[in-house]
């Protein structure tokens, strides 16, 4: 209908970042890199050697990885359903997704800790020999329960005696801490005591044998297999993100409609593959921090949490871009309203997912599941340092923003949308902190809240690297698809 008037409007649309903005991106990246290096130095000179840095870096990368993975899934969903409205904001989404290789590079230290098999991050990565005697049943829990009932079979396999390799004393101490603390309470001590967790470090015991972890260590969580998988996941996601972005950029020049139909054609199978990969990234990298705990909902949790943060980042990006005069003609209040609706939808979806996971495990009340929540201070019986974070998830990440962002007038208001985006991003990082940090135990302490300079520098530094690289890549191309066949459809949207 009014496509002529739209075309005229688009002529005055500023779709390229002004020269110099790419420089800002590179400056941000250098600052971020410096921050990460300073975090390493601070950590190295502190009490925990580089261990604290490795852990802080995983925490730093996790949030941005969730956002980028969710962005990639949404690029695919957008093509799959032939979404019209999203077209004019899609280039930023594609650029968010293509940050996956950068985050992959930042995950190299994590991968190194697994390769070194010293248990710095993952307790299952410490080599453990499967005992000769199997208790028949394949079920790890049954077998471990068998151990409790008097079978003194649990062999104390000693690293030093096995002569595997000389272990640094500091590392050995950490190994010891990492191992003991992650065992299900009661399994190692031969006593089951409620309430959970009973996580004190038992002095004088070099190493406990944990059948469940030992079996995982030889199976799904075999370090070499794990490293192979992580690299494969990141490589596939990178390829998909690169392919979708590069085709979209190619279309800017040619306006070839076949590109759109081709991307749509392959988006279905790729969405299935990438959905599984993101789920398995969540399982392998983050859920395996505690190899005893399992939840099939964890992958969805990771995706829902990341997607909520991703829409908050999208809203903020376009508010900032428009305040600087970009995309004034192609992005309107309707787009902000739509992004606000996605943000609000994922407030609800995240709450739904998070509560479902909690409610099922709370109701069943099985020790091998509930200890995970107990560690995070969810229990009213044993609140700990993480309890405020758990409350932030309920109140700050659901109840308050649910009511705050429910009105369409707030979603259509740049200030309102920006405020809730910042709010939700802050809550998102609390969530990531709560997912990862309680798994790390420090010699002699449990449930100690660690948020110091290394953690802050890692989150901020990785964030600056991520944002800087995004700005650099946005500056290299147009800020929106220029000749996508659905640009005008996106321009014409109306929220009734």
């Amino acid at each position: 209908m009014g496509s002529h008037s739209h075309a005229n409007r688009l002529d005055s649309d500023v779709t390229r970042l002004r020269p110099g903005n790419g420089g800002i991106g590179i400056f941000l990246m250098l600052a971020g890199l410096a921050g990460v290096i300073v975090a390493a130095i601070v950590s190295y000179t502190g009490a925990h050697d580089l261990v604290r840095f490795y852990r802080a870096l995983l925490f730093g990368v996790a949030g941005y990885l969730a956002i980028s993975c969710s962005a990639l899934l949404f690029v695919l969903i957008n093509h799959l359903v032939r979404a019209g409205w999203i077209t004019n904001v899609r280039r930023v989404l594609e650029t968010l997704a293509i940050q996956i290789p950068l985050l992959g590079i930042l995950l190299i230290p994590t991968i190194i800790t697994v390769a070194k098999q010293d248990g710095t991050i993952y307790s299952w990565a410490v080599p453990s020999d499967t005992p000769e005697v199997h208790h028949g049943a394949g079920d790890a829990h049954a077998a471990t329960a068998g151990d409790q009932h008097g079978a003194p079979a649990a062999p104390h396999v000693d690293n030093h005696a096995a002569g595997a390799k000389p272990v640094h004393t500091e590392t050995a101490k950490l190994q010891h801490v990492g191992k003991t603390d992650n065992i299900i309470p009661g399994y190692h001590a031969g006593e089951v005591s409620l309430p959970y967790p009973n996580e004190q470090v038992r002095p004088g015991v070099e190493r406990d044998f944990d059948r469940l972890v030992a079996e995982k260590n030889h199976g799904w969580l075999k370090p070499a297999f794990w490293i192979f998988r992580i690299i494969a996941y990141l490589a596939i996601l990178t390829w998909v993100a690169w392919y979708y972005r590069s085709r979209s950029i190619a279309q800017d020049a040619t306006g070839d409609v076949d590109i759109s139909s081709n991307l749509q054609k392959i988006s279905g199978p790729l969405l299935m593959a990438c959905g599984l990969i993101v789920t398995f990234i969540a399982f392998d990298m983050f859920m395996s921090l505690d190899p005893h705990w399992f939840s099939t909902m964890y992958g969805v949790y990771f995706f829902a949490s990341g997607t909520q943060a991703m829409w908050a980042v999208m809203c903020l990006t376009f508010i900032i871009l428009q305040s600087r005069g970009y995309l004034k003609e192609s992005i309107g209040t309707e787009h902000f309203h739509d992004m606000g609706k996605m943000l609000w939808a994922f407030i609800v979806f995240f709450a739904y997912i998070a509560f479902s996971q909690y409610m099922l495990q709370w109701y069943a009340n099985m020790p091998e599941e509930t200890f995970w929540y107990d560690k995070r201070g969810y229990s009213t019986a044993h609140p700990n340092g993480y309890t405020p974070f758990a409350l932030i998830l309920l109140i700050g990440r659901f109840i308050i923003p649910f009511l705050g962002l429910v009105s369409r007038h707030v979603k259509r208001n740049r200030f309102g949308l920006g405020f809730w985006s910042v709010w939700l991003l802050a809550c998102f990082f609390c969530d990531i902190y709560l997912l990862i940090m309680p798994e790390f135990h420090w010699a002699g302490t449990t449930h100690e809240l660690r948020f110091g300079l290394p953690e802050f520098l890692c989150v901020a530094g990785v964030g600056a690297l991520w944002l800087g690289n995004m700005i650099r890549m946005l500056a290299a191309n147009a800020l929106r698809p220029l000749r996508d066949p659905r640009v005008h459809e996106s321009l014409a949207i109306q929220n009734i």
Binding site: M1, G2, M359, W362, Y363, N365, R408, A492, Q494
Partner: protein, 208 residues
């Protein structure tokens, strides 16, 4: 389907001349842009009782018609909050309090029980949240559907517009603006002129 004929045709061959009451004007358009622009003119002329009929939703027609935002979302919020309260009260009553219906309702024999389940507190919020949530959704959904029907004055089984043969194309390829004769600004000649000037293919009177 020639069952309904305009009464005027019969009037010529009849002794009693029935003068039909004009209830409105119906203008036919074959172009979305024309109907949207004419709608804006009708809005600016200050008409209140009128409507646009289209085979599909027209982007921007709300603005062109000057339709004020619906109060349906507020009704749904109220319905949702009512459902939430209902869910909380219901779970609390039937699981945690042995409360009997008082005097006027004691014939119902309704009574709460204290169910001790799975070692949880009697009124245990996490366990009841699914029920409370579903009640909220149910009440919101019912309010949405019935609120929509009420606000649209549905179901409406008969409308004089059904007599117009051309109006049947409103469900396939034509757009219509119908102005009610009850509108304070309605003037048969001037209003027809207004509609024609907007590019109407035809303007017909709607008879009672």
């Amino acid at each position: 389907m020639e069952a309904i004929q305009p009464t005027a045709d019969h009037a010529t061959s009849s002794i009693d001349v029935i003068v039909p009451t004009v209830v409105g004007l119906c203008a036919e358009f074959d172009d979305v842009t024309a109907v949207t622009e004419t709608a804006a003119r009708v809005r600016d002329a200050g008409f209140k009782y009128w409507d646009v009929h289209s085979p599909f939703p027209i982007h921007g027609i709300d603005h062109a018609m000057g339709i004020r935002p619906t109060i349906l979302p507020v009704l749904v919020l109220m319905g949702g909050l009512t459902g939430c309260l209902f869910g909380i009260t219901m779970t609390a009553w039937i699981n945690a309090f042995e409360f009997k219906m008082p005097a006027p309702f004691n014939w119902t024999n309704l009574q709460g029980y204290q169910f001790f389940i799975s070692g949880k507190p009697l009124w245990s919020l996490p366990a009841f949240i699914p029920v409370i949530f579903e009640c909220t959704v149910l009440f919101s959904a019912l309010t949405t559907v019935f609120g929509m029907l009420l606000l649209n004055k549905l179901p409406m089984l008969y409308n004089p517009l059904f007599r117009l043969k051309n109006f049947r194309r409103a469900t396939s390829d034509r757009f219509f603006i119908v102005i009610d004769a009850g509108d304070p600004n309605f003037d048969r000649q001037k209003t027809a002129e207004l509609l024609r000037s907007g590019g109407a293919v035809s303007v017909e009177t709607v008879d009672e």
